[in-house]
C-alpha cells in the first residue's frame, strides 16, 4: 500500500515538475506578450497544483493525518493568479495596443482598458 502512495507522490511531483518546466520554457520561448501570459499561468496552477497534491498524499501516507494547508494554498493561488494575469494583460493592452490592433470588443464600444472618459479641463482621471 505504501508503495502505491509513493508511486502517486512521485507521479504528481513529476507532473508538477514538467508543468513548471514547460511554463518557464514557454515564458522564454514565446515572443508575443499575450501568448507568453499563458505560460506562467499553467505553471502556477498545474505545476504547483501537482506538488500540492503530492504533499497532501505524503501527509496522509507517511504522517498519518489529513493536511488542509495545501487546499488553502490552492485557494489563494486561484484567487491571485487570474488577477495577476488580468493586470498584466491590461498593462499590455494599455501600453502596447490600440483599439485597432485588438479584436472587436463585442457589444461594447471598446475594450475597458481603452475606455477612458474624455479629458475635462482641470480634471485628472476618472
Amino acid at each position: 500500500m505504501e508503495q502505491v502512495f509513493d508511486l502517486l507522490i512521485t507521479v504528481f511531483l513529476v507532473v508538477g515538475g514538467i508543468f513548471g518546466l514547460v511554463g518557464s520554457f514557454g515564458l522564454i520561448k514565446l515572443d508575443d506578450p499575450m501568448s507568453r501570459l499563458h505560460a506562467p499561468t499553467k505553471a502556477t496552477t498545474l505545476g504547483v497544483g501537482g506538488v500540492l497534491i503530492a504533499s497532501m498524499v505524503h501527509a496522509y501516507a507517511h504522517e498519518g493525518h489529513l493536511s488542509w494547508h495545501e487546499l488553502l494554498i490552492t485557494l489563494f493561488l486561484f484567487l491571485t493568479a487570474p488577477i495577476t494575469a488580468n493586470f498584466i494583460a491590461k498593462a499590455h493592452i494599455h501600453r502596447h495596443e490600440t483599439p485597432d490592433t485588438l479584436p472587436p470588443a463585442g457589444e461594447d464600444k471598446t475594450w475597458a482598458t481603452h475606455d477612458v472618459p474624455p479629458e475635462e479641463p482641470g480634471s485628472g482621471r476618472g
Binding site: 487570474p82 491590461k90 475597458a112 472618459p117 475635462e120 485628472g124 476618472g126
Partner: protein, 951 residues
C-alpha cells in the same frame, strides 16, 4: 505649608489664568493673585521660626544617584527673597490687570508670570545646587517668554532673544562651575557645601569654579560687560520690567553670590573679580542712565548701577558690607519697582516715555508726582527715605576698601557713581514732573485709577516707613538674611543720624554734585554725545552673526539635503570608527564550525546576490528597482526563516509588503527614470565607499558568526526566564512586550509621532502653493480605463475577512508562537490597503469611520494603561502578570496583561501605517478621482441601468 507646595504653587497655578481668561480678565487676574497670595501666606507662616534663626527644610530624593534631590530649605535669605518675589509679584499682578490693554492676551501673560515666579521661588528655596540650576534655567526660559510678550514688536523679540542668549550662556557656565563645586565637596547639597569653606578655597579647582559661577551670576544680574541685555529687555510691558528688573530675575545673580558668600568670598580673587566688576558696573550704569531720555532706559541703567553697587558690597567680603548689601537689596526692590510702575503710569497717561516730550506733569498728575518724588529721592539717597540708609552704609564700607594698595580709589569712584545716581534720580523728578506745564503732550495726561497707583503706593509707603523706622520694619528680616549670608550673628542697627562720619560728607558731596550736574545737564550731554562709545547691541549682533554664520557654513556643508551625502558621511565616519576598533582590538580564534552548504541556501544566495546586483544595474528605472528591492526583501525574509527566526521572517515580509506599497504610491510623484546627476568621479567615489562598507559589514558578520561571544550574552537569561517570568514560550515576543516592554512603549510612541509628522508635513505642503501644482498635475502617460477592475475588487473583498482573521490569529498566538501585535498590526493594515488598491482610496476611506490619529492614540493609551496597572499591585511600570483559565468546552487558555500591551502595539502600528498611507494618498487627490462605485464595470449595474432605460 510645606516648602514643596510653596515652590510648586505658582507652577500649578499657571493653569488657572490660561483657562479662566475665558471667564474674563478679572477672573484671570484674581486667580493669579489668589495663587500668589496663598504661596505668600504659606511663606509667612514659616516667618516666625525663620526669624528665630531656625531653618525650615523639606527633603525628597529625586535622582539620588546623580546627587539631584528635591531638597528645599528656608532660611533668612530665602525668606527675604521669597517674600520679595511673592509680595512684589502680588502688586505686579494687580498692576498688570489695569496696565495691559484689551488686545493683549492676558491669560498668557499671567501664566508666564506665574511660571517665572515659580522658577524664582524655586531658586531661592533650593537646598540642592543641581535643583537650583534647573530653576535657574527655568527663569531664563520664562523670562524669555515675558520679555518677548509683545510678539508683534521686533524690539520685544530681539530683546527677549538677547536676554535668553546672554543669561542662558551664563547659565551654561554656571552649570560647569556648580558641578566643579559639587565635585570638590562631594555633595550637591547647599547645606553641606556651605560647611566646607576651607576645603573649597584650598582646592586647585576653586578658581575655575568661582569664575564659572560668577559668569552665571554676572550675566543674570547684568554686570559689566554683560549689562547690555537689561536695557534691551525694556521692550517688555512695564509690569514685566518692574517685576524682572527690580525684585526678581536680575536679583537672582545677587542671590547666588550672597548664597555662596560664606564659601566663596574672602579671597583676593573674589575681591578683585566681584568688587571690581561691581564698581565698574555701578559707575558705568549711573553715567549712562543720566543721558538716557527714555524713562524706562533711565531706570534700566539705574538698575544696572544699583546691581553693581550690591555686587561691589558683596565683593568686599566683609560682614558689614554683606549686611549693607542685603539691606540695599530690600531698599532697591521697593523704590525701583515703584519707579518702574510709575514710569508705566506716565507712559499710559501721556502716551510717551520720552523725557524730552515730558515736563510739568505735577500739575496734571499730582498723585503720580508724589509717588515718583518719594521713590526717586530714595533712589538718590536723600534722607529720610530708605535709600539713604543703605547708600550711607555703602559709602561707609567703600572707605574701608583698599584696591591694589590705593585706599582712595574705591571711595572716590563710589562717590562719583553716587553723584551720577543723584543726578539721574533728580532728573526723573525735575525733567518729567517739574517745570512749566507744556501744551504738546501726545495726549493730555491725568492721574490713573486706583488699580494703577495703589500698587506703587504700597511700595512707596514702605520706602518711607523703612526710612523712618528701619529697626522696627527692616531689622528682623535683614538680620535674619544677613545671618544666613555670613553664616554668623551680625549686628544690624541702621539709623538716619550717625554723627559726622566720612560717609556723611561723601553723601553730601554726592547730592550737591549731582544737583550741580543736573543743572549742567545740557552741557554734559554735549560732552557725552561726543565721546566715542561702543554700541553693545552692535557688538552683540556681530558676535551672534559670526557664530551663526560659522555654524551655518559648517552645517550647510554637512547637511545640504542630499541623501547621498548624508549616507556618505555616515558610512565614512562609521568605517573610520570600525577601522580604529579593528586595528586596536584583538580577534579571537574561530570557535564555530561552518554549517554544511546545501542546495537551497545556495539558491537563495544566488537570488539575493542577483537581485542586489540588478538593483545596482537598473536603479535608474525606478519601478524596476522597486520590484528588485521587493525580491531582495522576500529572500531576506526566507533567510530569516531558514536561520530559525520565524518572528523576524514574519515581520520582514509584512514590512516589505507595506513598504513596497508606500513606495509605489510615492513613485506616482516622481519621474520614471532617475537622471544622471553626479560626475563619474563622484560616482566612483560613492562606489568605493559602499563597496568598502559592504565588505566591512560582511566581514564583521562573518567574524561574529564564526566565533562565540567574548562575554556571555543576555540570550541565556531570556531563554531561561521567558516562560517563568513572562508566561510565554515565544522569547522574542516576551522580550518585546515584557522584558523590554518599556523600549517597545517608547517605540510605538515614536512610530505614532513619525506618522503624525508625515500627516503634518502633508498638511503643510497642501496648504502651500504646491497644492495647485498637484491638482493640475498631468500623468506621465495617458491613464488606462477600468482602473478598478471587477476581478480585483471581488478578490480583495474575499480576502479582507481572511486577512483580518490571520491578523487576529497571529496576534493571539504571539505570546507562545511566532507572531505578535506588531506583525498583526501590519497584516491588518495590509487588509485595509488591499481595499484602497482595488476600489481607490476615496471610495474606501468613505467607508471607514475611525480617524487614524485616534487609533494611534488609543494604542499608546492602551499600552500605557496596561503598564500603569502594575502600580496598583505595587509593582513597577509594565510588570506583566499572567494566569491560565480553563473555560468549559474550551482548551486551557492563557490570560496575560502582556497581551493587552500587545494590543496597544497592534493599534499603534495599524494607525501609523494607515495614516502614512492616507497622507500619501492625499497628494494624489484630484477632482473627480473619487469613484462613486467600488468597481468601474459592474454587469449588475449595467443591467439595472438598461432596465431603467427600457421602461
Amino acid at each position: 505649608m510645606s516648602l514643596f507646595l510653596i515652590a510648586a504653587l505658582p507652577f500649578l497655578g499657571a493653569v488657572f489664568p490660561a483657562l479662566l481668561i475665558r471667564a474674563g480678565r478679572n477672573a484671570a487676574a484674581a486667580s493669579t493673585g489668589a495663587v500668589t497670595l496663598l504661596a505668600l501666606i504659606g511663606l509667612v507662616l514659616h516667618a516666625p521660626a525663620v526669624l528665630r534663626g531656625e531653618t525650615v527644610s523639606a527633603r525628597l530624593d529625586w535622582l539620588p544617584d546623580l546627587g539631584l534631590n528635591a531638597n528645599f530649605h528656608l532660611d533668612g535669605l530665602g525668606l527675604l527673597f521669597a517674600g520679595l518675589i511673592l509680595g512684589i509679584g502680588l502688586l505686579i499682578i494687580a498692576y498688570a490687570r489695569f496696565y495691559l490693554s484689551r488686545e493683549d492676551p492676558m491669560g498668557q501673560f499671567y501664566s508666564y508670570l506665574l511660571l517665572f515666579q515659580g522658577a524664582m521661588v524655586g531658586i531661592v528655596l533650593s537646598d540642592n545646587i543641581l535643583l537650583l540650576l534647573v530653576f535657574w534655567e527655568l527663569t531664563s526660559l520664562s523670562s524669555f517668554l515675558l520679555i518677548g510678550y509683545w510678539k508683534h514688536l521686533p524690539e520685544g523679540r530681539q530683546g527677549a532673544r538677547m536676554a535668553l542668549a546672554v543669561t542662558g550662556s551664563g547659565g551654561l557656565a554656571m552649570i560647569g562651575g556648580m558641578l566643579i563645586l559639587g565635585h570638590i565637596v562631594g555633595s550637591y547639597d547647599l547645606s553641606v557645601i556651605l560647611q566646607n569653606k576651607d576645603l573649597i578655597q584650598a582646592s586647585p579647582l576653586y578658581a575655575p569654579a568661582l569664575i564659572l559661577i560668577l559668569i552665571g551670576a554676572f550675566t543674570k544680574s547684568a554686570q559689566f560687560p554683560f549689562h547690555f541685555w537689561l536695557p534691551h529687555a525694556m521692550a517688555a510691558p512695564t509690569p514685566v520690567s518692574a517685576y524682572l528688573h527690580s525684585a526678581t530675575m536680575v536679583k537672582a545673580g545677587l542671590f547666588l553670590m550672597a548664597r555662596m558668600w560664606p564659601v566663596l568670598s574672602g579671597t583676593e580673587l573674589w575681591f578683585y573679580l566681584v568688587a571690581t566688576t561691581g564698581l565698574v558696573t555701578m559707575v558705568l550704569g549711573a553715567v549712562i542712565a543720566l543721558f538716557k531720555d527714555d524713562l524706562k532706559a533711565l531706570l534700566a541703567f539705574s538698575t544696572v548701577s544699583h546691581l553693581g553697587l550690591i555686587t561691589m558690597l558683596l565683593g568686599f567680603g566683609t560682614k558689614a558690607a554683606a549686611v549693607a548689601a542685603v539691606f540695599h537689596i530690600v531698599n532697591h526692590a521697593t523704590f525701583k519697582a515703584a519707579l518702574f510702575m510709575n514710569a508705566g503710569i506716565v507712559d499710559h497717561a501721556a502716551h510717551t516715555r520720552d523725557i524730552k516730550q515730558l515736563g510739568g506733569l505735577r500739575h496734571l498728575m499730582p498723585l503720580t508726582f508724589t509717588l515718583a518724588g518719594v521713590a526717586a529721592l530714595s533712589m538718590a539717597g536723600i534722607p529720610p527715605f530708605n535709600g539713604f540708609l543703605s547708600k550711607e552704609m555703602m559709602l561707609e564700607e567703600a572707605t574701608h576698601a583698599i584696591w591694589a594698595g590705593t585706599p582712595w580709589l574705591v571711595p572716590a569712584l563710589a562717590v562719583f557713581g553716587a553723584l551720577f545716581s543723584v543726578a539721574y534720580s533728580l532728573r526723573y523728578i525735575a525733567h518729567v514732573f517739574l517745570g512749566p506745564r507744556r501744551h504738546d503732550y501726545p495726549t493730555l495726561p491725568h492721574d490713573p485709577g486706583a488699580g494703577l497707583w495703589l500698587p506703587p503706593a504700597v511700595l512707596v509707603v514702605l520706602v518711607v516707613l523703612i526710612g523712618l523706622f528701619p529697626n522696627v520694619i527692616a531689622t528682623p528680616i535683614v538680620t535674619a538674611a544677613a545671618n544666613a549670608v555670613t553664616g554668623a550673628d551680625v549686628y544690624f542697627h541702621p539709623a538716619l543720624w550717625h554723627g559726622l562720619t566720612p560717609a556723611l560728607y561723601m553723601s553730601v558731596a554726592a547730592v550737591l554734585g549731582g544737583a550741580l550736574l543736573l543743572g549742567g545737564h545740557r552741557a554734559a550731554l554735549g560732552i557725552w554725545n561726543n565721546l566715542p562709545r561702543p554700541e553693545a547691541k552692535a557688538i552683540f549682533d556681530a558676535i551672534v552673526g559670526a557664530a551663526t554664520g560659522t555654524s551655518r557654513r559648517f552645517s550647510d556643508r554637512l547637511h545640504n539635503g542630499s541623501l547621498a551625502r548624508y549616507s556618505a558621511i555616515f558610512l565614512v565616519f562609521t568605517l573610520a570608527i570600525a577601522y580604529y576598533a579593528f586595528a586596536s582590538g584583538t580577534l579571537g580564534p574561530e570557535t564555530r564550525a561552518p554549517l554544511p552548504v546545501t542546495a537551497m541556501p545556495v539558491l537563495g544566495w544566488i537570488c539575493l546576490v542577483g537581485s542586489t546586483l540588478s538593483v545596482v544595474a537598473f536603479h535608474r528605472n525606478r519601478l524596476l528597482a522597486l520590484v528588485l528591492i521587493g525580491v531582495t526583501g522576500l529572500i531576506v525574509s526566507m533567510t530569516f526563516n531558514y536561520l530559525s527566526a520565524p518572528d523576524l521572517a514574519l515581520t520582514q515580509i509584512s514590512v516589505e509588503v507595506v513598504t513596497i506599497i508606500l513606495l509605489l504610491l510615492a513613485l506616482n510623484f516622481m519621474p520614471q527614470q532617475t537622471p544622471r546627476e553626479s560626475s563619474p568621479g563622484r560616482r566612483s567615489r560613492d562606489v568605493a565607499i559602499s563597496v568598502v562598507a559592504g565588505l566591512g559589514v560582511g566581514g564583521l558578520i562573518y567574524a561574529l558568526m564564526t566565533r562565540d561571544f567574548v562575554l556571555p550574552s543576555i540570550s541565556e537569561y531570556h531563554l531561561a526566564n521567558s516562560y517563568k517570568g513572562g508566561g510565554g514560550n515565544n522569547v522574542v515576543n516576551v522580550i518585546l512586550v515584557d522584558f523590554r516592554g518599556f523600549d517597545t512603549f517608547g517605540e510605538i510612541i515614536v512610530l505614532g509621532i513619525a506618522a503624525i509628522i508625515i500627516f503634518a508635513i502633508t498638511e503643510a505642503v497642501l496648504g502651500s502653493r504646491v497644492r495647485a501644482r498637484l491638482l493640475n498635475r498631468k500623468p506621465w502617460s495617458p491613464l488606462a480605463g477600468d482602473s478598478h477592475p471587477l476581478m480585483m475588487v471581488v478578490a480583495t473583498r474575499v480576502m479582507m475577512p481572511i486577512a483580518l482573521m490571520v491578523a487576529a490569529y497571529i496576534f493571539f498566538r504571539g505570546h507562545n508562537m511566532p507572531g505578535g501585535g506588531f506583525i498583526a498590526g501590519l497584516i491588518a493594515a495590509i487588509a485595509v490597503v488591499m481595499q484602497y488598491m482595488a476600489s481607490g482610496f476615496s471610495w474606501a476611506t468613505d467607508r471607514q469611520r475611525l480617524p487614524y490619529h485616534g487609533i494611534i492614540g488609543t494604542g499608546v493609551l492602551v499600552a500605557a494603561v496596561t503598564g500603569m496597572g502594575a502600580w496598583f499591585n505595587g509593582l513597577p511600570f509594565l510588570t506583566s502578570a499572567f494566569g491560565y483559565v480553563h473555560p468549559p468546552y474550551l482548551e486551557k487558555f492563557e490570560l496575560a496583561t502582556a497581551a493587552l500591551f500587545d494590543l496597544g502595539v497592534f493599534l499603534a502600528v495599524l494607525g501609523a501605517v494607515l495614516l502614512a498611507l492616507q497622507s500619501l494618498a492625499r497628494y494624489a487627490w484630484q477632482p473627480g478621482i473619487a469613484s462613486e462605485h467600488p468597481m468601474d464595470i459592474n454587469p449588475e449595474r449595467d443591467d439595472a441601468t438598461q432596465t431603467i432605460e427600457g421602461h
